[in-house]
């Protein structure tokens, strides 16, 4: 039974939700409103005045090949980050779930990368792959592979994907591990008696039972790849080489704060807002139906 608490007056409930409303207003609604408002203006080259242009910023953006390329980059980047963060996490969780001894140690160690801030993670990976002093770049050189993510677009993308996904593996691992522990033992045993061996069992029984968790992580990881990978990209590639790793969020930054085109930058963030909103609605509408059993 659901328990509902009913308040007598309105003062107490108001006080209780006030902090949340205040935080949302100051840190979300106000900046979002500002962005929408600014997206309707073009500032002059010196930033001293701005001129109202209506929807021209949007019109320009949608016709801009660089902006459209950034869309594609973002799609590739977020897909890769989500996959690279979720599949290894699931694999590690499945392995940890099989452990009987020292599962706690293993679990604790796997959670550590999550404590590393994205920008720091970016620097860390940058050092390992640095074309001049990077350890891994050097080993790759020994093997005859000339690693250069500063020039090679594919390598640059690969590096930012790995650096972004790395810390998330820990986060996803935690959720997958908890979900795996919640799968009733007897169902697994029943499947074993029914003749299914480990991986067969995993794909036909365990994975479907994990689907609510998988779906949740899918949404959370896509949103992460969209918004929170800025630090990684900024430290490793700064969006280069040639825009190859300029995802939408990074373009908002580089157009607005490097290029000083605040109007276009604001318009981009409005578009981003709409895109993510649509994506989330779409995911919940479509996939949620298939998630519950």
């Amino acid at each position: 039974m659901e328990k509902r608490v009913t308040f007598k007056g309105w003062l107490l409930p108001l006080c209780l939700i006030a902090p949340q409303v205040f935080i949302s207003a100051v840190f979300f609604f106000y900046p979002a409103g500002q962005a929408v408002w600014q997206s309707l203006f073009i500032p002059d080259p010196f930033g001293l005045s701005s001129q109202f242009v209506g929807l021209e910023n949007f019109e320009y953006l949608l016709g801009d090949p660089y902006y459209r390329a950034s869309f594609v980059t973002t799609a590739i980047f977020s897909t890769l980050v989500t996959l690279a963060a979720m599949i290894p996490a699931l694999f590690l969780a499945v392995m940890a779930d099989r452990l009987v001894k020292s599962a706690g140690v293993y679990r604790t160690l796997l959670i550590w990368p999550y404590a590393v801030a994205p920008a720091v993670a970016g620097v860390l990976w940058l050092f390992m792959f640095n074309t001049r002093v990077g350890v891994i770049a050097w080993y790759l050189g020994q093997l005859g592979y000339d690693w250069n993510h500063v020039l090679n677009e594919g390598e640059a993308m690969g590096l930012v994907v790995v650096a972004s996904a790395w810390g998330r593996i820990s986060y996803n691992f935690l959720f997958f591990f908890a979900a795996l522990q919640a799968v009733p033992r007897s169902i697994i045993e029943a499947a074993a008696i029914d003749g299914a061996r480990f991986w067969r069992r995993f794909f036909t029984i365990v994975l479907p039972l994990l689907s609510p968790t998988t779906f949740f992580l899918l949404v959370v990881n896509i949103v992460y790849a969209f918004f929170e990978t800025f630090g990684v990209i900024h430290t490793i590639t700064s969006g280069g080489p040639q825009q190859a790793t300029t995802i939408l969020v990074y373009k908002v930054f580089s157009d607005g704060f490097v290029g000083q085109d605040l109007g276009s930058s604001a318009a981009q963030s409005v578009i981003l807002l709409i895109v993510v909103g649509l994506l989330t609605v779409l995911q919940f509408k479509y996939i949620e139906k298939r998630v519950h059993y």
Partner: protein
Amino acid sequence: MATVELDDIKKRFGATEVIKGVSVDVADGEFIVIVGPSGCGKSTLLRMVAGLETISDGELRINGTRANEREPMDRDIAMVFQNYALYPHMSVAQNMGYGLRIKGLPKAEIAAKVRDAAELLQLTELLDRKPRQLSGGQRQRVAMGRAIVREPSVFLFDEPLSNLDAKLRVQMRLEIRELQAKLGITSLYVTHDQVEAMTMADRMIVMNEGRAEQIGTPLDVYERPESLFAAQFIGSPSMNVVAAEGREDGLHLGDMVLPNPTGAHGTVMLGLRPEHLSPDPGGPITMEVLLAEPLGANTLLHGRLANGQSFTVSLPGVHRAGHGSQTLRLSIPPDKMHVFDKKSGRRLG
């Protein structure tokens, strides 16, 4: 069709031995009930037969060949779990056909087998439902269906009825027994309910603290319990057990003297089933009645003997004389008296 042989099966978790050597030969088509209080190791024993627990010592043979190291899927068994363990994301038909699909049978054949089993269990209407849309009894049936569809050599049941209400339990008890008799599949059935054990078993294994106290037909165990534990565990209300002194002229219970059918000497434990006692003005047992429980068909009288030991009698019909403090004289035929060694609890004579 299969025989199952347990040869001195043991299970250790670290230093503690939870199964201390159980041996039994199960004949083809036999229905064996493993019964005992919680924690006696009965489920562990079943899980070792299933291959879900490793066997620490001893040998398990299915159809005459050693099965200790075989994986559960290679033992040709099916198991019904206490919580049914249905796959929640699959329909009833998919649940039942899962094992066949793993085996790689053609779809049409799977569908036909599932349909046959569903008919047998009256599940035809429910084949498209998901487990969460079923009642407890229906889930139980699906779990049974999943087991029989695969036509295994051995059925294993792990307290399959304990999550059902009393009425449904009686009904399912009959159904399982009928089904097993019809299919003739060797079965091992674990329960803590002695009524289930009595009514379903061809033979039962009474377990206590990792040991088989007695293996025999239900009536064997009831009429000739081999140990104090088996004597008290089987039968309801449970057997009266009182300490007695064996002498030449009979068994002395304080001032009361009963016949001594075994000729035992020294202190022994005497077991008397409540239903075997009858009122007899000249009987040797004097009991002070403190409380009566009229059950309709019979009446339970609770009280104590002259030496203070508590005692229960079950008398047929309604017995109005039981209320208040009142003394009752009882007698028992000597062949219904069970005498056990005080130390080992084993039966004497």
